[in-house]
């Protein structure tokens, strides 16, 4: 299938529940991909990945190349892609169970090393695909099949944790504001370095938060000036600011560790390789 001749959305049967917040998210992504294309980031060099969960199905719904990864590992998969060929743009879709639970450490370290990747998290406050168990962002008292009497844990605040781990770009979006979400995703994609968009995704079946979000969500005009202010933004519970919450440009990992080299594009040929090996052997003599 040729990418330039096909729609961004694939023809695979969509099996999300009617009304799921993922539809708005998918639409925003489609539009964002087109905008990125207009900016010169073609679909030929945009690679995606996804974790396992309802969120992950977006991998099938997008006619974009990439690798459908494991539960919690999509952030690492795209780092591998990026480091192998820094000319690629990489983006992964994660769930709250997936990226903030099973894969949380990977996010923290990706932020810390400032890997040039974009993460879109479908944060629906539960493990939806496995029938609605509590997740790291489930509110206390959340009832799911592993916590029938209500989850006893306080939810984690993943954005606070990531801001505390020196993440360079943190944003929040809401599928109820599709246009805005599109822009946020484009801006995340444009950012050079680690970027993460936490999407407030209502799950109509297990955690229907439309009403709550419609009431609390508030578009932020400008990112916070300082990291500290950004932390205050994500601590708010009375209001839920959406938009780019914090943005800071910093050197990216692959350029720090392997400057100006592209592992797959700037290869030595066989002869050069043999010479290099021989030289080391000679030094060992």
């Amino acid at each position: 299938m040729k990418l330039d001749e096909s729609e961004v959305e694939s023809e695979v049967e969509n099996t999300w529940c009617i009304g799921c917040g993922n539809f708005g998210l998918l639409n925003s992504v489609k539009n964002a991909v087109k905008k990125l294309e207009d900016e010169g980031i073609g679909k030929d060099r945009l690679l995606i990945s996804a974790g396992i969960g309802c969120h992950g199905k977006i991998f099938d719904y997008l006619n974009l190349s990439g690798l459908y990864s494991l539960h919690g590992r999509e952030s690492v998969t795209i780092q591998g892609m990026k480091f192998a060929n820094p000319n690629l743009k990489v983006m992964a879709f994660g769930g709250d169970g997936d990226a903030y639970g099973e894969g949380l450490a990977h996010l923290i370290f990706a932020a810390k090393r400032n890997a040039d990747i974009t993460m879109i998290i479908h944060n629906n406050g539960n493990y939806a695909l496995t029938t609605g168990q509590k997740s790291p962002t489930s509110v206390q008292g959340f009832k799911g099949p592993s916590s029938p009497e209500g989850s006893v844990d306080e939810p984690i605040n993943p954005l606070k944790v990531l801001l505390s781990s020196d993440a360079g770009f943190i944003a929040r979006g809401y599928p109820g504001k599709m246009q805005h979400l599109t822009e946020v995703i484009v801006e995340a994609g444009d950012h050079q370095g680690f970027s993460l968009v936490d999407v407030l995704q209502p799950c109509v079946t297990f955690n229907d938060t439309y009403e709550k979000y419609n009431e609390l969500v508030e578009v932020l005009d400008e990112p916070a000036e300082t990291r500290k202010e950004a932390v205050e933004l994500v601590e708010k519970e009375e209001r839920l600011p959406i938009g780019v919450l914090y943005k800071e440009k910093m050197p990216v990992f692959n350029e720090k560790v392997y400057p100006e080299k592209n592992p797959v594009e700037d290869r030595m040929d066989e002869k050069e390789r043999f010479e290099a090996v021989k030289k080391i052997l000679d030094e060992k003599r």
């Binding site: 459908y68 591998g80 192998a84 690629l88």
Partner: protein, 557 residues
Amino acid sequence: MEDEDVFTYMVGGKAGEGVKKAGTAATDLFLDLGRESFQMNDYQSLIRGGHNFSVVSTSIREVYSHHMEADLIVNLDERSRKIHEEHLAEEGLMFYNLDDSEERDEGLGLPLDEMAKEYSKPDLIKGVAGIAVLAAYTGMDQKDLEDLIEKEYSRGVEENLSFAKEVYKEVEEKIDKTINLEKGKTDSTVLTGNESLSLGAAAGGLDMYIGYPMTPASSILHFFAAHKDDLRVMPIHPENEIAVANMAVGATVPGARVMVGSSGGGLALMEETISLAGMTEAPVLFVLSSRPGPSTGVPTYTEQGDLSFALNQGHGEFPLIVASPGSVKEAFFLSKEMLDLVWKYQTPGIFLTEKHLSESAKTLGLDLDFSDEDGLETKMADEDDDYKRYEKTEDGISALKFPPSKDLIKWNSYEHDELGYTTEDAETVKNMHDKRREKNETLILDLKDMNTVNEFGEGDAVIFTFGSTTLSVREALKFTDIEAKVVQPVFLKPFPIWELERYMDEEVIVVEQNSTGQLAKLLREKCGIKPKTVIRKYDGRPFGPRKLAEKLEGAIE
């Protein structure tokens, strides 16, 4: 028929006293004489103190293993002297540290602590005494010793030179005979197994090495980090082993040749991802360097207890290639060959080795002209084809295409259709299982044309072994009259039954380093070979060739 022309040098002391360095310098000294060597480093899981030793056996012929009967033992402390008492060969010289040990009738003592006190790093400098004693004992010129030290001890060379000369002079005066080491004709290199397999992979076009430290695989990561600019292999040390493995899988999508490495515990953490590589058809080469297990085990020692573990990695069914080199030199060629294979078959491979091969050093000559391996090319899609990542083909192999590309290229951990979209359809599920199984069948056909088993020597007795134990067996055979053929399966999965079945009715002896006889089991189960004797060792230490020779004799008569 003892092969008396092997000279063995041993140096022991505390961690942090430069014991291993002294062993390496000794190997270099022998190389300057045109002699072959094998150096084994025995160390504990600690940074300072305890007891370390390095042992180098040298000869004008190829030496496959160190010996534990030493002609010269240099002990930097009393603990070493005690431990190594039993290792002194007849007529051998025992050197000891008079400041830590009492004066004795036999052997030669010098007050090393006292002498070292004058220097800025009195502990660290002690090791160079080891090389000075060796130089004096083998009648080396002082000038040659100086050259050697300048080469080997580049850090703090002045002090090392001065200390070495002091020791050299004292020893020269006090000993009544020197040993003359015949000159050989070797003009080659000394490499550890880990260096060799790393260089082989680099020669084979490695683009990235991703690793998380774990003995005895850490030195591969260190090697690529040190040679980043000359070998142009990008080294990455991420947060944990799960990241290592998944980063590697991701890196294959744009076509990077990538290798990762760990020991048993780390590889266990990668198991979910090995299965991912099987499903997505991601060609990742995993180096597994074993140490005694289970669990944390005995981190700095050697064992072959991970064979079944390696052969059965990953849930579900997919082709997995496992091979293990029987020599430092083979490590070089095998890592390149394994890279080619995992790429041709787009499936994970495990390069299995052990601490004994990974961290021992051997003299070897390398010829970089690889034999003709045209059969092992990666199948690439044509530019204009209607691309399907998982196209069903006769041999089970689908062509690859790398982004940036105008084609849709989807890799998928779920069961998928040819385009890479997720499927639950019964027929497609079945077809894709068939595809992966057919790939394995093609792989077996390929292997049948390749060298999958090494055989050494001729004779009625048949001795099976694998991995680093091959070294011990080959050296042991120099010390018996047994006429034996040594059979070493290099490939362990798919297991080269076609090469081995003919031993079914022979009297077979198996030598391996684990407690349950895993190779013996494999031979029995896969090839119907019923081993007469299984010689096992599982105390963390490699076989000593002469003791092994006795065991072989016992088993064969």
